[in-house]
Amino acid sequence: MTAVPLRPPRRLLEFTLDGEQTRAPEGATILDACRAAGKDIPTLCQGDTLTPKNACRTCVVEVEGARTLVPACARGAEAGMEIRTDTPRVRHSRKVVLELLASSVDLSTTPGVQDWLKEYGAEPARFGPDAATVNETPRVDNDLYVRDYDKCILCYKCVDACGEQWQNTFAIATAGRGFDARISTEFDAPLTDSACVYCGNCIEVCPTGALSFKTEFDMRADGSWDPSRQTETTTVCAYCGVGCNLTLHVQDNEIVKVSSPHDNPVTHGNLCVKGRFGYQHVQQGRR
């Protein structure tokens, strides 16, 4: 049984969304309203369990009276707003943002992005063969997970999950400035020398696969990673009495990855090192 927290009823705001009168509860973002109305808005840095950072700017929409486009993920809906989600101006910005990202980082493991590139007619190759890329090599410094910053779009989600929004460990932060900004530990030390507690909550929120289980990273490297052959089973972690939910991703009868449902009212997709990585005993033949 899932507990549903009760809240006082919220006032409904009326506004126009693509020419249609729409209502959304007070406090909802434009993105919430769009999703409730069945409109697909591309998002990358938005996370269902995190405060919007609005860094990627793929979710921009046009609001009547605003000088610039506004990020749907962060901007609250207001009564009387006139929002347009699919104007040429919006489509142009989304297209260019996708081109800029795809030309500078490796988006091959980012879910959804290939469809958006097609939908918005993005041509990342137009910046030429010499366009600068972030040009990073995967950091493999521990047995549990890999940080491949060549795939990092700097959405800040891992930093927020590691820091004050969830884990309060603060092992990583953004370092450097501009195009040279990277997610980093202090002095780029290996994770084993950092404050990291290997909860893997950063992997849970990473939208691009820049952070991945070592198992997934190795399987992708040898070509055996195949989501179509994977099953997902949600169960309860057996380590302690908190009762966190685990979703075990199993391929060929082996656990290859562990995630956690984001809608769990207690953990919101967060786990500790035991729940996230302590599954080897299950698959040792001696049991």
Partner: protein, 659 residues
């Protein structure tokens, strides 16, 4: 929060530099060397310590000033003292251009390679070697080319600032303990010493070669830079601030009238020349009366956005949350801008008086002055002036005996253009990376430390003095109907008399160029408003210099930059330099600006290298520039990304660059 610190130990110098700022560590929990019995029983940490995060940037300065770079041990010790996660401390330190996180020589020269200095022939050859770093605009454009030499050592600005910080820090248990906690020494005697002798030669325990020193080298020839690097304490004094004001002494001046006639070190001289009459008038009017006067005067913000100052103050004053803060934005970093430096160096008490009035109007008891890190003389003058004002009861618990408490703290920037954006400035002050916040909420609702804040540019604040001095209606009679008062212009480039000029709004660009001695025959273009502004053609010089006039003409007054380019200046290289500037100064938070500025710079470099040999490729690159520019303007978080493409676009559209 269970922080994890590495094993790297601070050196004795680093420990001393941090302790000079924060006081000695209270226990081993804070990094003291010897463990006592009490340390095993208690850890007095938590909020009390974490509430000092805003001292992270001063702490980084203290380390960098003392050693010349920030080591793992030094940063770790600072973070331990402030209870800041080291990863975040590293993220903040790497954000700023003036800090190094790898070893470098104690003496470094920041050689300006920006627009005005490039036009004047910056000594790029001097940039070979470890000690010289190319730098964005140093705000010394009237004496271009310029360089700033900094020698790390004892007695840097942060070691002298603690007393001011402790005293000005307002209420709070921690601040009280700081005051009694051995931050002794009388500020006045220290200030007296500083006043008598320039800091470069201040007598101290260490030999001059080991003391912290800064030297401005302008004009910067390779030989002069080399000499200054070897002996920064022996470099001759800069010319007085009045040398940057060709109009100095003109009785028609309003904002600049005291520059050159007042002794910037003398409070008495300032008062003899009409100083502190405006503050007395403010106390007569009361806070609401001051806001009414400022609103009626039609004063618009001079930082670039031209927001009505009265409305900003009213909105801040009306917020129920307490406390309110006043922030003076003196992070003047727009390439080609140096007016605020001249004001602060030539007439520092005026800014302090104006900040006191502003603080009184909005109900703030604390003002922060966020000063560019590259302005050592302004820092020195302002700090001295603050100390004088405190002894004379013009700042402190009871300003002028009126029962109003107000104090000002100076915070130094560290080389980040983006920190001139108001919300980035708040983050920088709070000890976070200087990344802009999204608006709404606006600063008047949630600004510094999440409280209602009025951020104002130096020039805007200084305008408040004539508003109260002559009355709102007389002030509003200056200039034009919707741009009232006078405006400062920073004229540089190929003119005979570069410097800061003051003209009433409505004067034409032509008149300004006449004053500055510009040869019209060879004039190619004028860059108005700085790197984020726009170009004006020689046939458009009748342009009236007002906010509405420049906007109607498709350009912007911005911060008042007037960079004159003659035919000898290769335009493609100027545009490339502008694009490089924005690529370097983008904070990296949002995609359109972080990657867009890089793609634009690449395209402009391709065009410049082609030199017209492949018109088809150039046309493609221009399309690309326009596409990326449009997305940056529409989708960037802050004004940097939104305006980064303005100047290049105007060069394409108005000057027909690359046509």
């Amino acid at each position: 929060m269970d922080l994890h610190f590495g094993d790297a130990e601070p050196s004795a110098d680093e420990r001393e530099a941090v302790d000079a700022l924060l006081g000695p560590p209270a226990s081993t929990w804070e990094g003291a060397a010897d463990r006592t019995g009490g340390d095993l029983r208690w850890a007095r940490r938590g909020r009390r310590v974490a509430g000092r995060r805003d001292l992270l940037l001063p702490g980084l300065h203290a380390l960098n000033d003392r050693v010349g770079w920030i080591s793992e041990g030094g940063l770790g010790y600072l973070c331990r003292r402030l209870e800041v996660p080291p990863a975040e401390g590293y993220g903040v330190a790497t954000f700023y251009g003036m800090f190094a996180l790898t070893p470098r020589p104690a003496t470094v020269a920041h050689v300006c390679t920006d627009l005005a200095c490039a036009v004047a022939g910056a000594p790029r050859e001097a940039l070979q070697g470890a000690v010289c770093h190319p730098s964005p605009c140093l705000g010394l454009c009237e004496r271009a080319p310029a360089a700033l030499v900094v020698r790390a050592g004892e007695g840097g600005p942060e070691s002298a600032r603690t007393r001011g910080a402790g005293e000005a820090a307002g209420s709070g248990e921690l601040r009280g303990s700081e005051r009694s906690g051995g931050l002794g020494g009388s500020e006045e005697s220290a200030a007296g010493t500083v006043a008598a002798v320039p800091p470069q030669t201040a007598a101290g325990a260490a030999a001059p070669a080991d003391r912290h020193a800064t030297a401005v080298v302008a004009p910067a020839t390779p030989e002069a830079v080399d000499l200054a690097v070897r002996a920064p304490h022996a470099v001759a004094d800069e010319p007085s601030a009045a040398a940057a004001v060709p109009q100095a002494g003109d009785p028609g001046l309003v904002l600049l009238r005291r520059i050159g006639t007042v002794d910037p070190a003398s409070l008495d001289d300032y008062r003899a020349q009409g100083g502190y009459a405006a503050l007395r008038r403010a106390f007569e009017l009361g806070p609401a009366g001051v806001i009414r006067e400022v609103t009626d005067s039609g004063l618009l913000g001079r930082g670039g956005a031209a927001f009505p100052t009265g409305r900003k103050w009213q909105a801040t004053a009306a917020r129920p949350e307490q406390p309110h803060y006043l922030v003076c934005n003196a992070d003047e970093s727009e390439p080609g801008t140096f007016k605020d430096r001249v004001l602060m160096e030539g007439d520092p008490y005026a800014l302090i008086e104006a900040m006191t009035i502003a603080g009184y109007a909005i109900g703030a008891h604390r003002g922060y002055l966020y000063l560019r890190g590259e302005y050592p003389r302004a820092l020195h003058r302002l700090r001295h002036a603050l100390a004088r004002c405190r002894t004379r009861g013009l700042l402190g618990e009871d300003v002028l005996g009126q029962g109003y408490a107000f104090d000002i703290e100076i915070r130094r920037g560290a080389g980040a253009y983006i920190c001139g954006e108001e919300t980035a400035l708040f983050n920088s002050l709070e000890g976070h990376r200087g990344e802009p916040r999204s608006k709404p909420p606006f600063p008047v609702e949630r600004g510094l430390f999440g409280k209602p804040t009025a951020p104002n540019n130096v020039e805007t604040l200084v305008n408040v003095l004539p508003v109260l001095g002559m009355g709102a209606s007389s002030y509003a009679a200056l200039g034009t109907g919707s741009s009232t008062g006078t405006k400062l212009y920073c004229v540089s480039g190929t003119v005979r008399r570069p410097g800061v000029y003051e003209l009433p709004f409505g004067a034409t660009l032509d008149e300004l160029l006449d004053l500055a001695g510009c040869e019209r025959e060879r004039l190619r273009a004028v860059l108005l408003g700085g790197a984020a502004g726009g170009f004006v053609r020689p046939d458009e010089l009748d342009l009236p210099l007002t906010f509405e006039g420049t906007r109607a003409a498709g350009t912007a007054l911005g911060s008042g930059v007037v960079l004159v380019l003659d035919e000898s200046v290769p335009l493609p290289l100027v545009l490339l330099r502008i694009a490089e500037f924005f690529r370097d100064e983008s904070c990296g938070q949002c995609v359109p600006c972080r990657v867009g500025t890089v793609r634009q710079e690449e395209a402009l470099r391709r065009i410049a290298e082609r030199a017209g040999s492949d018109p088809h490729g150039t046309a493609d690159d221009i399309t690309l520039l326009r596409d990326v520019g449009q997305a940056m303007r529409d989708a960037s978080i802050c004004g940097l990304g939104q305006t980064a493409w303005n100047a290049v676009e105007s060069a394409l559209d108005r000057l027909g660059a690359y046509a």
